[in-house]
Amino acid sequence: MQSVKELILKMADDALIIGHRNSEWTGIGPILEEDIALSSMAQDKVGHALALYTILHDEFGEAVPDQFAFGRKEKDFRCCHLVEYPIGEYDFTAVRHFLFDHAEILRYELLTQSTFEPLALLAKKIKGELKYHVMHADSWITRLGLGNDESHSRMQSALNNAYPIALGIFEEGQFENELLEQKFFGGEKVLREMWEEKIEPIIGRAHLELPKAKDETIGMGGRNGYHTLHLQPLLDEMNEVISSEATGTEW
């Protein structure tokens, strides 16, 4: 069961960290609707993380979600590098959102078939909510890709930067074989194929090109506890209030 636990952990950490990154747009979004959209998606993602940490608590005896989410050391996180990067300009945020959310919704679609029932049930719920996220991402990829020269070149350059890092989403953990054998999950290889099949036509319609990654391992490490230099400062910020009080303080 270690395999399914690791799978849930990396999904939860991805959702928590991208949720916090999305929330950094609250109050400074380029237009009001985008401020609201990023904030709403941040709320969804953190809620999904909570639901996943709750499974880890109920089924695997981990600490209560708040404590587990915020009380671990950096090396105990299993999020991928893509979600750790700062929000940057809106082009990077939009491209990351597009690349990450398509992989995420496809992962949940695969997981509706999982033999691990708590995850299969949650997947059925969450995949409907994520439809809004991918529709939002697609609309901005298209609009900015087809916008004007500046928006097009910014989107292409953000895609060139983010795509190789995004491949780290599909880094396999040490229990990948067990996941497949026990039919807990269809596997990272299958997921990556589905993802490329899904995103390529959308990128094409936006008159953008999917770059070739020179090094497919550049965004890897996160699934085994090796992170970018951006994660620790983010964890410090997330923990700033709670770490100012003694352990066990009632809020």
């Binding site: 609707e33 609201i36 709403s40 719920k125 529709m135």
Partner: protein, 166 residues
């Protein structure tokens, strides 16, 4: 046989009482009309109410659990448990006909019955709750709460929010 009938009546009584518990974000509509109560189980003096959130990240869930518990407790039961039911996923199709009428009266657009999967077209087509026109457009698929999107009516020139399909 008699016992079963009594229990059935009790479940109906509890569901009727839960009409008093409203969604804190839309105080017109009850938790029953919203379709978030999935089961009520009565065992002598103990009651278990099973419920589900609309969106997973609904911030009102704890408050609603508390209000449901309080409402059933005043009916005289000894112990009332309100638990999340992981076996059912909420969908906008679960909102009752009465619930839809109340949402419209509250000034919110409502979701079409979609039978399981909603499409992008479905999102952008919403009837204006003010004048009933279908000549509307979606301005943003996210709104003031997770369960609402923002729209505009070309006929009555009013903005409105819609209770999203899910």
């Amino acid at each position: 046989m008699t016992e079963i009938i009594i229990e059935k009546n009790l479940v109906e009584e509890i569901l009727a009482a839960l009409e008093d518990v409203k969604d804190p974000e839309i105080p017109f509509i009850s938790v029953v009309e919203l379709g978030i109560i999935t089961a009520v189980e009565v065992d002598n003096d103990n009651v278990k109410v099973k419920m589900i959130p609309t969106f997973t990240a609904c911030p009102a869930i704890k408050l609603m659990q508390q209000q449901i518990r309080d409402r059933v407790l005043v009916m005289g039961f000894n112990k009332v448990e309100v638990v999340i039911d992981p076996s059912v996923a909420w969908s906008s199709d679960r909102v009752s006909e009465a619930g839809i009428k109340k949402l419209e009266k509250f000034g919110l657009g409502t979701a079409h019955r979609h039978g399981g999967e909603f499409s992008f077209n479905e999102l952008s087509q919403s009837k204006c709750p003010h004048c009933g026109s279908n000549n509307t457009t979606m301005q943003s698929m996210f709104g003031s709460t997770l369960c609402r999107s923002m729209h505009y009516c070309f006929d009555c020139k009013q903005g409105f929010e819609r209770f999203k399909p899910l």
